[in-house]
């Protein structure tokens, strides 16, 4: 039986040898760029010194993982990372899908284009510029404070960036502002693939605009939404780096410092590459777990999935 299967495998391989041949460069590419770098993980188990060769490195066992897990800062940083990615994930999805649905209902093409262009333009500004804009807008004499005091919603200007508890909200809003238009594009593309006859049929049956949105467009988007959700679950510990780094300061450090900044400070910053790698491995493992569980949940629910 086994032999038989093997036999048919080889037979098929020979039959499709041209295809197999064409795969080789890409398999090589994946191996060289995706698998070989895993070798660097050995650093996490050494007291790594950059100038020395591999054989000269001193092995340290799990020391760096222990340092990581014993540090109270690590847990605060981990919490911040999870919360910030959570906010980003939920906010990002909800706003992008809503905007896509609304844009899809627009019949005035010019207006639609303008809205789309304006909403995705911030995506092309670098975070350095974007953070400067945010800092200026939220400064004590920035537009937000001026507006709120003029409307008598505030007695005196608030130091938005100086209050840790505001940070997550500010960051979430900033990320939405920056990326909502860009994220919408994929949904708009998916909407165009929905069969227009469904809408016509629904219209004849007397479905309102809202009902059409709810019963045709949204289910049509479902596969895309789920695939994107699964892929984003894998990045749950990637809450971004630039935004937090550029907007963070001493006063909101308790809420703004995330895993990447921690690694930067205690790993790269202090030349402790081993600690940085250890944190990186931890991140990969967590992402792995998230990715697989999201995928298997999707499978159980009988939905489209990544693999």
């Amino acid at each position: 039986m086994l032999f038989n299967r093997n036999h048919s495998f080889f037979k098929r391989l020979i039959q499709q040898r041209t295809l197999a041949f064409m795969c080789i460069p890409f398999v090589l590419w994946a191996f060289v760029f995706k698998y070989l770098p895993l070798w660097g993980w050995t650093m996490a188990f050494q007291n790594y010194k950059p100038a020395k060769s591999f054989s000269e490195q001193q092995w340290a066992g799990l020391k760096h993982f222990r340092i990581l897990f014993e540090d109270s800062t690590f847990y605060r940083v981990l919490r911040n990372t999870l919360v910030m990615s959570g906010i980003q994930l939920v906010f990002g999805f909800v706003t992008a899908i809503t905007l896509a649905l609304l844009l899809n209902e627009l019949k005035n093409i010019i207006f639609k284009r303008v809205v789309q262009t304006v909403s995705y333009l911030p995506h092309f500004i670098s975070w350095v510029v974007a953070s400067s804009i945010v800092l200026t807008v939220l400064s004590p004499d920035g537009i937000v404070n001026v507006l709120l005091t003029k409307l008598h919603l505030l007695d005196k200007p608030v130091l938005w960036m100086g209050k840790g508890s505001y940070f997550w909200g500010i960051l979430g809003a900033t990320q939405v502002w920056k990326d909502v238009g860009w994220n919408t594009i994929i949904y708009l593309a998916a909407i165009t693939s929905i069969d227009p006859s469904q809408y016509e049929a629904a219209e004849i049956d007397g479905a309102s605009r809202f009902q059409r949105m709810l019963n045709i467009t949204l289910p049509g988007l479902k596969p895309v939404i789920i695939i994107l959700l699964i892929m984003n679950m894998g990045n749950i510990l990637e809450s971004g780096f630039e935004a937090q780094y550029l907007l963070g300061n001493g006063m909101n450090i308790d809420f703004s410092e995330n895993l990447d900044i921690f690694v930067l400070k205690y790993g790269l910053g202090m030349g402790n590459f081993s600690l940085g790698t250890a944190a990186g491995i931890f991140k990969t493992l967590v992402s792995f777990i998230f990715l697989f569980s999201a995928n298997s949940i999707a499978k159980k629910m009988g939905e489209s999935r990544l693999f």
């Binding site: 041209t18 041949f21 064409m22 080789i24 460069p25 090589l28 590419w29 010194k49 950059p50 100038a51 800062t73 350095v128 953070s131 400067s132 800092l135 200026t136 400064s139 004590p140 004499d141 130091l159 960036m161 100086g162 780094y245 550029l246 963070g248 300061n249 001493g250 006063m251 450090i253 308790d254 930067l264 400070k265 205690y266 790993g267 790269l268 910053g269 202090m270 030349g271 402790n272 590459f273």
Partner: protein, 562 residues
């Protein structure tokens, strides 16, 4: 069918070749150029080459050395040109990435990243090269070799402070800056203590609540941006009458180093800021804004006082000077806690040995680079990088003194754009060089800024009036002369990467970044409680290891062991 097969196979081959080619590309080109330049050696008609120079120092525009007047002249002499690049973003990250990838430029100006680069073995030892090709290097750096020899007894880089002779600076470098209109308003009062300083700001603010339609800001500082927090930490040692020794204060007699963080000095300084904040004098944005916003504020004329080092605010200072309104400009004053304290704002003559420029292991032709360095250290070229070209950017008077003959010459040095174009910005620092306070063979000051004739030439009418009001000839006369501190500066003591000392100072700085601003902005009634909370956390850290380490290093330096 056969045709098809041939086609696909060849397609695959082409793909594979393309992939292979990409990988090999980089490594192929490197040896080529090196072969070319090794032939050249160092003789005058060697083929032109361009090397890469990377600086971790203050960011400037990327440039090709030969695009500047000075760089062009040096290229004519040596055939070597430089692609000069500056750090964009965070130095720690850039250095980490550089090390991790092993992708170094030919030479690096390390700025604060020296420990990391040394640890990674980024630089080549220079002893043999200097021995063979460096008569001028030996002349300039020879007396200082022992101060920057590394643990293995070798030299790896050139620090920038090898003074030849000594002349002091006529202009202030740091202090509590105050807007000149404030001094003018109160008829140039003599103020010395921190209380008097804030009192003056308060009185002025009450009289002039608005400047140009916007609210007047009493006092600001740059303590929000990553890597600038020392601007809030360092005033405590200056106010107590000590120079900038980094995070410690060193006792003059026992040479013991004590941490400033958590000390009574820090408490007094932060408490004063807290009180001033309650009176609406402190700009709360001091703790959140970035450098661009800070400089914009300083040039807006709204800020009455600030604390910074002159190199942090160079752009703002130059632009204010260019704008020509003397009342809007600032002057630094030697403010201290109490009247009887002797200020020490002016750095004592010292030798900064923990940063400099070195040749990396990736340099294609170290010999040619060291020859370039040696040529650069000839006195005529040192004059070129500081003073420029005679009768073009400076003049020599009947007594042989260097000076500026007219405003055009001064502008070449002072106007940011012209100075960049001429190359002063790129070549007068961050290269092997004489120390700032050096004296040339003919008695002229090495740096134009230190030449009294030039200093007084550059003074505007407002400057002169101010100096006259205080009865001094130069700004530095407002300050006390520095006392001798043979270990100076203590901030140049290198901490080992990943050592307990480095761990401590990283944690301590984080703690201060979090607590000090919050303490300043809270109501004064809560101050003692907040300070208690802060100290409770501070005491958990291993302060003693750090202090002992710095003390040991200071004492070694005093004993002549650097």
């Amino acid at each position: 069918m056969l045709k098809n097969k041939l086609l696909t196979t060849s397609l695959v081959l082409i793909l594979a070749a393309a992939l292979g080619g990409c990988g090999g590309g980089n490594s192929n080109t490197a040896p080529d150029t090196s072969a070319q330049s090794t032939n050249a050696g160092g003789n005058e008609d060697a083929p032109a080459v361009t090397y890469k120079y990377f600086s971790f120092g203050a960011p400037k525009k990327q440039v090709l050395g030969s695009e500047t007047t000075i760089g062009k002249e040096l290229q004519n002499q040596t055939g070597v040109d430089w692609n000069i690049e500056y750090l964009v973003g965070d130095g720690d990250t850039k250095a980490g990435v550089m090390i991790a990838s092993g992708d170094y430029p030919d030479i690096i100006d390390s700025s604060g990243q020296m420990a990391k680069l040394m640890d990674a073995g980024a630089f080549i030892p220079l002893d043999d090269l200097i021995e063979q090709y460096g008569p001028n290097i030996k002349r300039v750096y020879g007396p200082y070799f022992d101060k920057f020899r590394q643990q293995d007894g070798k030299l790896y880089f050139f620090p920038y402070g090898a003074n030849i002779g000594y002349v002091s600076e006529p202009n202030f470098q740091t202090g509590f800056y105050i807007q000149r209109s404030v001094l003018k308003e109160f008829n140039y009062p003599k103020i010395k203590t921190l209380d008097e300083y804030f009192d003056l700001l308060k009185q002025y603010k009450e009289k002039h609540p608005q400047v140009g339609g916007q609210e007047t800001i009493g006092f600001a500082t740059l303590a929000g941006e990553q890597g600038s927090f020392f601007t809030l930490q360092n005033p405590a040692n200056h106010l107590a009458g000590y120079p900038n020794d980094g995070s410690t204060i060193v006792d003059m007699k026992t040479h013991e180093a004590k941490l400033v963080g958590g000390s009574d000095y820090q408490k007094r300084w932060i408490k004063k800021l807290n009180e001033a904040n309650a009176e609406g004098l402190v700009d709360p944005e001091s703790f959140t804004m970035n450098r661009d916003q800070y400089l914009a504020k300083l040039t807006s004329g709204r800020v009455l006082g600030y604390f910074s080092y002159s190199w942090q605010v160079g752009d703002a200072t130059n632009n204010l000077k260019k704008a020509g309104n003397d009342d809007m400009r600032y002057v630094a004053l030697p403010i201290v806690f109490d009247k009887e304290i002797k200020d020490q704002y002016i750095d004592p003559p010292g030798f900064v040995n923990n940063y400099g420029v070195g040749i990396t292991v990736k340099a294609k032709d170290p010999v040619r680079i060291i020859q370039y360095f040696d040529n650069l250290l000839k006195e005529e070229n040192q004059i070129l990088v500081q003073w420029g070209i005679k009768d073009q950017s400076y003049a020599v008077d009947a007594n042989g003194r260097f000076t500026y003959a007219n405003d055009a010459q001064r502008q070449l040095h002072e106007d940011p754009e012209q100075s960049m174009k001429f190359g002063f910005d790129y070549f007068n620092y961050s290269w092997p060089r004489y120390g700032n306070n050096s004296v040339l063979q003919d008695g002229n000051a090495y740096g134009p800024g230190n030449q009294p004739e030039v200093a007084s030439y550059g003074y505007t009418d407002g400057d002169k009036k101010l100096l006259e009001a205080y009865g001094v000839k130069t700004f530095s006369e407002l300050f006390n002369d520095p006392d001798e501190r043979p270990w100076s500066p203590a901030w140049s003591i290198a901490l080992e990467q990943g050592s307990p000392e480095q761990m401590f100072i990283t944690k301590a700085d984080d703690l201060q970044r979090k607590h000090l601003p919050a303490m300043v902005l809270d109501t004064p009634a809560n101050f003692d409680k907040n300070w208690g909370d802060y100290m409770a956390q501070f005491d958990k850290l291993d302060k003693k290891t750090y202090e002992d380490f710095i003390t040991k290093k200071v004492q070694e330096r005093v004993a002549g062991k650097w």
